[in-house]
Amino acid sequence: MDRYTEQRLFGWLARGAAALVVAVMALVVTVTLFRGGRVFLTDPAIALTPPGSRYMLEGDGGFLHAVLGSIFIVGPATIVSMVLAISTAVYLQSDYSSERFSDVVNMFLNVLWGTPPIVYGVFVLTVIIAIGARTSLVFGIIAIAIFQYPIMTRYTDEALRSAPDTVKEASYGLGATRFETAVMTVRAALPGIIAGIIMGFARGIGDAATVLFTAGRSTNMPAGPFEPATTLPVLIFDQAMSFNAEVRSHAYAASFVLIVAVLGLIVLSKLLAGRYARYAPGGRHS
């Protein structure tokens, strides 16, 4: 084959692959927005109404319990794993840890990253049984935090790694301590770190497997940290399995809420990252 034909062929292949991915994504989002929007927008109150006593059977009331459950579970979980992830990544990337130790920890993080979320769910369930507790909001938080931790750590680690070494050098050169230099490196990597945190949040809010056996799959409003709760993805599964057509249609409405939330988060991360990118060495050009 002629080298220019080869080049053209690869060009088509690459464009085709990119178009396929974009098309699939656009289709998923459009179908969800369209079908979900049809249900949700005719009666937006269902997202803000507590479920009736026979909600899963007849669809009376709304799914506020799952919206709140998602916020109460994923919010605290994100904060916990964010603190852990940034600390770990700073430790690995700064001069606190040896290169060899970093490599070992990174290997474990890769394993954690690749672990299916259902395994975390089962793990936390084992703990719940072992300590004789019952499934509740707090265990949902723990399971989601474990799930988010490797995602956020890897993103943060990557961001810190790509922050230029010269920032470190400049900071040390001014007589900064290791801690002050680590803070400076975090600031330089902030756009990437924010993207990672929000990505972790988005993944957490969309995950069903981790909370399935840990949060309690409640059909009532969350009553406290040690009471059962549910999240939107689990609810969507339950709704979609319902015999009642009204409840099934609510699955689309809940999907609509979920996808709008995730898209909103991604937009927010872009805006925040852009804001801090101006300060990053290399400025907005990089």
Binding site: E169, G173, T177, Y279
Partner: protein, 279 residues
């Protein structure tokens, strides 16, 4: 000659990574006070290593071994209880790559003052930031946009910002690592002018690739080759009547090719490295 502000005694540095590389083989140099000493030599001769070992900055990388000593005045910077950051405060460093800290222009200059607590009031901080930005001839260009990210300045401006940042903590010695090599000719000239203004007040040690820059700025010159000091002399004698054969070859070879690309510092130094001479 004035008193030496900084001296190295038999300073040797070895990189102990996958294989041992001796970067400096025990050099003893005196850097005179309030003068600019240029360290010159071909790429890979240990210039940057020498510079970084003068304020222990090489310690931020793993796998470096050091022997010998560096003294600031009479005090050893290695055999001391003083924490390393305090030493780096006294011996400032300006990096080769112009790097703004991820802060505003104002905060870049104020950063060192803040971490060392070198100010009593906001007014004093403001005054110092202005003073050092003026000192590097940057104030007029940035006075109305101090809150702008430092990273949005031009490369040449960032390098002067780096200088101001380092000067603000009032170091006794200033180390400059090829500070003009990443700059365009006009910015390089501005930085050079700034250095020329500063050298009467500060002890400056400057690594440079450009022989002409050394000629223009230096009071003293140290010629480093493969980790050894070949010759050290005052700039005039060094360039006009070099004593060592290797220096002669280097000076001659370098100025001949360096001449036309005077301010374009990025000339390929391997092309201008001295011809091999039997030792």
């Amino acid at each position: 000659m004035t008193d030496a502000a900084l001296t190295t005694e038999n300073l040797a540095v070895t990189y102990t990574g996958s294989r041992n590389v001796e970067a400096l083989n025990g050099v003893s140099i005196e850097f005179p006070e309030n003068q600019l000493t240029a360290i010159i030599g071909p790429s890979g001769c240990g210039k940057s290593t020498l510079l970084k070992s003068l304020n222990r900055l090489h310690e931020i990388k793993p796998n470096v071994e050091i022997s010998g000593d560096v003294c600031l005045g009479q005090q050893s910077i290695y055999d001391t209880d003083e924490p390393t950051p305090e030493i780096r405060k006294r011996i400032g460093y300006v990096p080769q790559t112009p790097t703004s800290l991820p802060l505003s222009i104002y905060e870049n200059v104020a950063y060192g003052l803040k971490i060392h607590g070198d100010y009593d009031s906001q007014a004093e901080l403001d005054e110092k930031v202005e003073r050092y930005l003026r000192k590097v001839n940057l104030w007029d260009e940035v006075e109305d946009r101090l809150e702008m990210p430092g990273a949005e300045l031009s490369t040449g401006q960032i390098q002067r910002l780096c200088l101001a940042r380092s000067l603000a903590i009032e170091p006794e010695v200033l180390l400059c690592d090829e500070v003009t090599s990443a700059l365009d000719p006009i910015s390089a000239e501005q930085v050079e002018e700034t250095l020329a203004d500063l050298k009467t007040e500060y002890t400056i040690v400057m690594v440079t690739h450009s022989m002409n820059q050394a000629k223009r700025l230096a009071d003293e010159v140290v010629f480093l080759y493969l980790g050894d000091v070949v010759e050290t002399n005052d700039a005039r004698s060094f360039f006009e009547s070099p004593e060592n054969e290797r220096t002669k070859a280097f000076v001659a070879g370098h100025t001949a090719t360096d001449y036309e690309t005077d301010t374009a510092e990025s000339t390929d130094t391997t092309a201008t490295a001295p011809p091999p001479i039997d030792r």
